[in-house]
């Protein structure tokens, strides 16, 4: 029987999981399930077997038995619904009618064994007669609680558009009728070691300070960073045109591979203005790389991933290491006007860190 196939499996599953914890069809804490439990308990209570002119009823239940019976009843309702909808769909209808339900009930075999194949009229089927008889005989026990309409649907509140809020879209390609951007709360970032801007700050006034010895450089930047506060809340600095030409810098970079202490002075003056911009557009793994870099002991062989990489999204050999190819390897998603400055300062910083980090890693 269909009932057997569906209910048996589910009930056995129910028993193995424990009621309400398996996350299966019925859950113990489900509102509908609890209501169903109460209803089933009512029904069981009203069942009476007449013995010697005296009605004998159940006086109490085992909890697991009640849960099982509730699960079976719920599954029964769902089976009726499914079968009735199936019959309606087969007949080309969307909504079921009473005949579909009667057919579904007959399919589930609820007609106390009535299986009259010749019966062409559903009204004549045993199940309907049984149900009619039942309503006539059984006592009417209405449900005790007044139920709210459930499930309660929440009214979805649309987020206001730009025009509703009165704000202007930040970019011209965004129309005013689109929802406004959420507020960006700049939270405090926990300082887990020197962050990118602090290290860059340390380059102010000459890289010599940093490049003396990598170890001391780290610790000095660490102290500085804590005093400066949250760099993300710092006021943005204006961009300054970088006069350094890339070609010239390349030559210098190649020279600097050899000598640690050879610092191109012309780069340092431009660092200050570009630090916040750089930091704002650096991806998080760039910052993390810096942190790792600063925390680790200088001069030791580090894994490739710890080295600074301003190239977004790659963990391969960082392009900043490839000093020769550093110009085209760097990508930024800021507007084009700032790109040049960024590229230049990235190269500077990349080169700085390479130098600071000089060791077997820098082998290209």
């Amino acid at each position: 029987m269909v009932l057997h196939a569906m209910l048996g499996e589910l009930v056995s599953l129910n028993m193995s999981n424990g009621v309400g914890e398996g996350g299966r069809t019925f859950q113990g804490s489900d509102f509908a399930y609890v209501l169903a439990r109460i209803a089933v308990a009512h029904i069981c209570e009203s069942v009476e077997v007449n013995v010697y002119q005296k009605g004998v009823r159940f006086s109490s239940f085992q909890e697991s038995a009640l849960d099982t019976l509730t699960g079976v009843a719920v599954q029964y309702i769902q089976s009726i619904g499914k079968a009735a909808q199936f019959y309606a769909n087969v007949a080309g209808r969307v909504e079921s009618n009473s005949l579909d339900i009667v057919q579904a009930l007959t399919d589930l075999g609820s007609g106390s064994g009535v299986s009259d194949i010749e019966c062409c009229c559903l009204g004549d089927s045993g199940i309907v007669k049984d149900v009619i008889r039942y309503t006539g005989e059984a006592e009417e026990v209405p449900f005790v609680y007044a139920l709210p309409r459930f499930p309660i649907s929440k009214v979805k509140r649309d987020s206001p558009s730009f025009s509703e809020v009165g704000a202007e879209p930040p970019y011209e390609h965004i129309p005013v009728w689109l929802p406004a951007f959420p507020e960006t709360n700049v939270g405090t970032i926990e300082g887990n070691g020197p962050s990118l801007p602090s290290i860059q700050h340390s380059f102010n006034g000459g890289g010599l300070q940093v490049l003396k010895s990598p170890k001391s450089a780290r610790y000095s930047t660490q102290g500085e960073e804590e005093m400066e506060g949250n760099p993300f809340l710092a006021a943005p600095l204006r961009f300054v045109e970088n006069e350094v030409s890339p070609v010239f810098r390349l030559l210098e970079l190649s020279n600097e591979v050899v000598g640690i202490n050879h610092v191109p002075d012309k780069h340092t003056s431009n660092n200050n203005s570009h630090i916040p911009v750089l930091e704002a557009s650096t991806p998080t793994d760039g910052i993390n790389n810096k942190n790792k870099l600063s925390e680790s002991e200088g001069g030791e062989k580090k894994p490739q991933q710890n080295l600074l990489c301003f190239k977004i999204g790659t963990l391969k050999r960082p392009s900043c290491l490839a000093i020769k190819g550093s110009v085209q390897g760097l990508r930024w998603f800021q507007e084009g006007e700032v790109k040049r400055e960024k590229k230049s300062e990235t190269e500077e910083n990349g080169e700085r860190f390479d130098l600071a980090n000089l060791g077997p890693d820098v082998v290209i």
Binding site: L3, H4, L7, G8, V11, M15, A32, L35, A36, A39, V40, H42, I43, C44, S46, V47, E48, V49, V56, F58, S60, F61, Q62, S64, A65, L66, T68, L69, V72, A73, V74, Y76, I77, Q78, I80, G81, Q85, E95, S96, S98, I101, V102, G109, S110, S112, C120, C121, G123, D124, V128, V131, Y134, T135, A138, V141, P142, F143, L147, R149, F150
Partner: protein, 134 residues
């Protein structure tokens, strides 16, 4: 042809009985509330705005549960009564719906419920104490 006509008439009559029953359903309040039944029917994809059909399903389910419960009650009563120590004591036991009776009753309806006999919280539960590794 006559038979066809006759069955046709019978059909109409029985349909009328169903229709009449549906109309009378509005007077009868099933124990299972309409909202609950509607919720579970909606879960399985059943769509119908007619309240009478919801009540029909509710009544059918109520009948089903009542049948199962009555069978379980009969199983419960049919079980041999415990030994009566005192002859004067009436056979007035309190009937409890147990898993045992319920599983017997449900089996007739095609639902197999097997309840574990005891709760085993360790692999050695139920074993002979002498053979346990402790």
């Amino acid at each position: 042809m006559n038979h066809g006509q006759q069955s046709g008439e019978a059909k109409h009559e029985d349909d009328a009985a169903l229709t009449e029953f549906l109309a009378s359903l509005m007077d009868y309040t099933p124990t299972i509330p309409d909202d609950l039944v509607e919720h579970y029917l909606a879960k399985s994809g059943f769509q119908c705005p007619d309240v009478r059909l919801i009540r029909l399903v509710a009544v059918a389910t109520q009948k089903f549960v009542a049948d199962v419960a009555s069978d379980a009650l009969q199983h419960c009563r049919a079980r041999p009564a415990p030994v009566v120590k005192d002859k004067k004591q009436q056979k007035d036991k309190r009937l409890v719906l147990t898993m045992e009776d319920l599983s017997k009753a449900l089996r007739e309806y095609g639902v197999n419920v097997k309840h574990p006999e005891y709760f085993a919280d360790s692999p050695s539960t139920g074993m002979d104490p002498a053979t346990r590794d402790e």
